[in-house]
């Protein structure tokens, strides 16, 4: 009897219409860049060039900020909350209508499996717009004072791991609160943000309320430094976050930073074992580990270490790595050659430090950027792979003996974005949640998001919160 080999099940890309080149979306229209060089965005799964994108130079940044300022003063700021809500609802519905197209585009440009862009990203993107649309006419009840006011123009710089979801996290609360925005998507994943620009046009959003400018670090820097900006919101690496904090220090700009993480995923001996294994897998291999709150440090109680490891390896052997557009793919492509190089470098360091590296047998495509799901055992707190964010499908496994030790090890990191606790004991979950210095503590689950739930970090994971009422507060003066 032959084995059950799943036939390829690729999602058709015919639904997506990618233009050969894109301008900058400023003041409600796509315009040519005036002082930047165009650059290419590629599919990380095949290295195929998808489109040419404009780079916004300082003059373009200035145009975008001025358009946003004008829209803020003339239209969006004075507009009644209930009317802003209508636009946001309209955008949310358009996202739902075009969700299949957006999911395919996201998987093409980012390399993430269509299963995740379709089932996780897009539903959350629409949910964020719906959620904040509901707040737009109820700002005085958000807990930010009796008469909260928008800040003005928000400069928003987002990363490449969840291009459209990060856009939603940024734009939805900003617009609901009455701000206008200039958003810069990451240089490797600009396409869904540009598709979102089309959605703004489709929704008849007044010109200048949302401006999308593409480019790399230089563009982002010019945007953050621009004196016409009232608020800076950034999600990305700790290094860039630190630079931004220095830039805005001493200015009246408000700032929120969502930075890196090295989350502890803590497994106690009484954990629901099979669901724990799923949670570990979801914690680190979701989106190829390109998740700032990824559970990249697995802390296992020594009494169940062998069993957890054996089960984890067996489960990892069933992960399907390959074409992101295949509906059966669990792990897609690494987003860029640079990121792949970094993952390789840190993994090599892990080996050099004496940790044991293991990956299931899996054939990787020859084109594109790929890294197999990997687990390191024999890791201790002193190893670099236990301290530095790898931002890839690489898990470090450490052990502990008592709940106290688990807390100490989990907190012994410069980061503090998230943590996971796996145990059947309810009282221990509550005790751990109080002890762990992390913005989010998941109990018997991991990487679960909801627009109503605030998200953000401690220490080097940044400051400020996104999502929920708290996310709204970050865009209000009071």
């Amino acid at each position: 009897m032959s084995r059950f080999e799943y036939a390829p099940a690729p999602e058709s890309r015919a639904i997506v219409d990618i233009k050969s080149s894109y301008g900058l979306f400023i003041n409600g229209a796509f315009t040519e860049a005036t002082d930047g060089k165009p650059f290419k965005t590629v599919s990380p799964a095949s290295e195929e060039v998808l489109a040419e994108v404009s780079e916004a130079g300082p003059a373009d940044v200035d145009r975008a900020v001025k358009a946003a300022r004008k829209a803020y003063e003339k239209v969006w700021g004075p507009m009644a909350g209930r009317d802003r809500a209508k636009y946001l609802y309209r955008i949310a519905r358009l996202i739902q209508e075009r969700s299949r197209e957006l999911a395919v585009l996201e998987s093409l440009d980012n390399g993430k499996p269509i299963r995740e862009s379709r089932d996780v990203d897009l539903p959350l993107v629409a949910a964020h717009f719906f959620y904040y649309a509901g707040w737009a006419d109820k700002l005085e009840y958000a807990g930010a004072g009796p008469d909260p006011q928008p800040l003005g123009v928000a400069a928003q710089v987002i990363p490449w791991n969840f291009p459209l979801m990060m856009l939603a996290w940024k734009i939805a609360p900003a617009l609901a609160a009455g701000n206008t925005v200039v958003l810069k998507p990451a240089e490797t994943t600009p396409l869904t943000a540009l598709a979102f620009a089309e959605i703004c046009q489709q929704a008849d959003l007044p010109p200048g309320v949302v401006n999308i400018i593409t480019g790399a670090g230089r563009t982002g820097q010019a945007l953050v430094e621009h004196e016409g900006v009232d608020k800076v919101a950034f999600t990305g690496s700790t290094a860039v976050g630190r630079a931004i904090a220095k830039t805005v220090a001493g200015t009246p700009k408000k700032v929120t930073l969502e930075l890196g993480g090295k989350a502890a995923n803590i497994v106690f001996e009484d954990a629901p074992i099979d669901q724990t294994i799923e949670g570990i897998v979801n914690g680190i291999f979701f989106n190829q580990g390109h998740v700032c709150c990824a559970g990249s440090r697995l802390l296992v109680q020594e009494s169940v270490y062998d069993e957890v490891l054996a089960r984890l390896k067996r489960r990892m052997s069933t992960l399907r790595v390959g074409d992101p557009l295949d509906k059966n793919t669990d792990i897609g492509a690494i987003n860029s050659a640079e990121q792949l190089a970094r993952i390789r470098e840190l993994s090599q360091i892990g080996e050099d430090e004496g940790s044991e590296r293991w990956s299931p047998e899996c054939e990787l495509p020859t084109q594109g950027f790929w890294f197999p799901p990997t687990v390191f055992t024999g890791v201790s707190q002193a190893h670099r792979i236990a301290r530095e964010e790898i931002f890839g499908p690489v898990l470090s496994v450490l052990t502990f003996r008592t709940p106290q030790e688990a807390v100490e090890k989990a907190n012994n990191t410069p980061f503090g974005l998230s943590a996971g606790v796996w145990t059947e004991k309810g009282s221990r979950i509550l005790w751990m949640a109080n002890q762990l210095r992390a913005g989010v503590v998941w109990a018997n689950t991991f990487n679960r998001f909801d627009p109503t739930s605030p998200f953000g970090g401690y220490k080097e994971s940044g400051y400020g919160r996104e999502g929920g009422r708290h996310g709204l507060e970050a865009y209000l003066a009071h």
Partner: protein, 318 residues
């Protein structure tokens, strides 16, 4: 408890007294309901097409226990069912045979006669099916009757009342007694998971049945709602996988009741493949207790071969 390093010897040990058995079952790792259901839902999004679909459809047909369990069953009804089992699709002789025909004990002889020489097994529900509420002596006699009439497989129900009140030793002894009465016949133990309700109970009952000598663990009688569900089957597949790791023994799994479409059946096969592993993709180790499923599998099979859906009248009723 650590299932991976529990050998056969120590498992024999846990059944040496009711107290040990109880402690063992209560010490099994818990099942998180939300997580188990999320996993089952994720497995059901696998997309099975073309060659994989053709393979899955034929495999599913070969895993069917074609069943009639009505008070109104007659020899004539059973003969018709056996004819269908032998040749599911009269229009297409390449359609495979089903695994077994499942009937009440008094109709085993009829089915046995009709299926002689075909390799199709006769399964019989015994042990005061479906409630199981009679004395052990009657259950044993019911089983012996079925086997004496030629049943190759016996589907027994566990005493859910005893299980839910924590009398695990009683349930164990009963399964062991039926195991003995069934002799050479394969023993399928029906847990009636719809009445056990929690996944923790499902996992405990699975282990209890395996320890007591089950060859198969089966979700439902089909007479209680909910019958088979994907998360329950997932938990049972995890149990047989872990039991195999402890003992080297392969125990089968049979979801029964409520699986009506080829699409559903394929979700179960994917779950088998990715939970217990490809070894279990075999009628010896996985069965569907379903009758209406067969026609949908045949219809999808014809669709795959011809590109068109035939109408329901192109397939036989039974």
């Amino acid at each position: 408890m650590t299932t991976t390093d529990t050998g056969v010897d120590s498992l024999a040990d846990v059944t040496s007294s009711e107290d040990r058995l109880r402690r063992f079952l209560l010490g099994l790792p818990g099942v998180d309901q939300v997580g188990a259901e999320a996993r089952a839902a994720a497995l059901s999004t696998r997309s099975i097409k073309t060659t994989a679909k053709a393979y899955a459809l034929d495999l599913a047909i070969q895993m069917i226990d074609l069943t009639t369990l009505e008070g109104s069953d007659t020899p004539g009804k059973v003969r018709a069912l056996c004819a269908k089992a032998k040749r599911p699709d009269p229009a297409d002789p390449t359609a495979p045979q089903v695994a077994a025909v499942c009937v009440y004990p008094d109709l085993v002889a009829t089915a046995k006669f009709e299926l002689r020489g075909t390799g199709i097994n006769v399964a019989s529900v015994a042990t005061a099916f479906p409630s199981g509420r009679s004395s052990l002596a009657i259950k044993v006699q019911d089983t012996k009757d079925a086997v004496a009439s030629g049943a190759d497989e016996v589907d027994m129900v566990i005493d859910r009342g005893a299980f839910l009140s924590g009398r695990y030793g009683l349930v164990f002894d009963e399964i062991a007694a039926i195991r003995e009465a069934a002799g050479e016949a394969h023993l399928k133990v029906i847990l009636e998971t719809g009445e056990l309700v929690t996944y923790d109970n499902v996992r405990r009952a699975s282990w209890l049945a395996m320890l007591a000598g089950a060859d198969f663990i089966k979700t439902s009688t089909g007479k209680v709602s909910p019958a088979a569900t994907l998360p329950v089957t997932l938990v049972m597949l995890e149990a047989v996988r872990d039991y195999h790791e402890s003992t080297g023994l392969h125990i089968g799994v049979k979801p029964a009741g409520g699986i009506r479409t080829a699409k559903d059946a394929i979700k179960y096969l994917v779950t088998v493949n990715e939970t217990a592993g490809p070894d279990w993709l075999d009628p010896e180790l996985f069965r569907f207790g379903a009758s209406s499923l067969l026609n949908d599998l045949l219809m999808q099979r014809t669709k795959l071969a011809t590109g068109h859906y035939p109408g329901p009248d192109y397939f036989t009723l039974d």
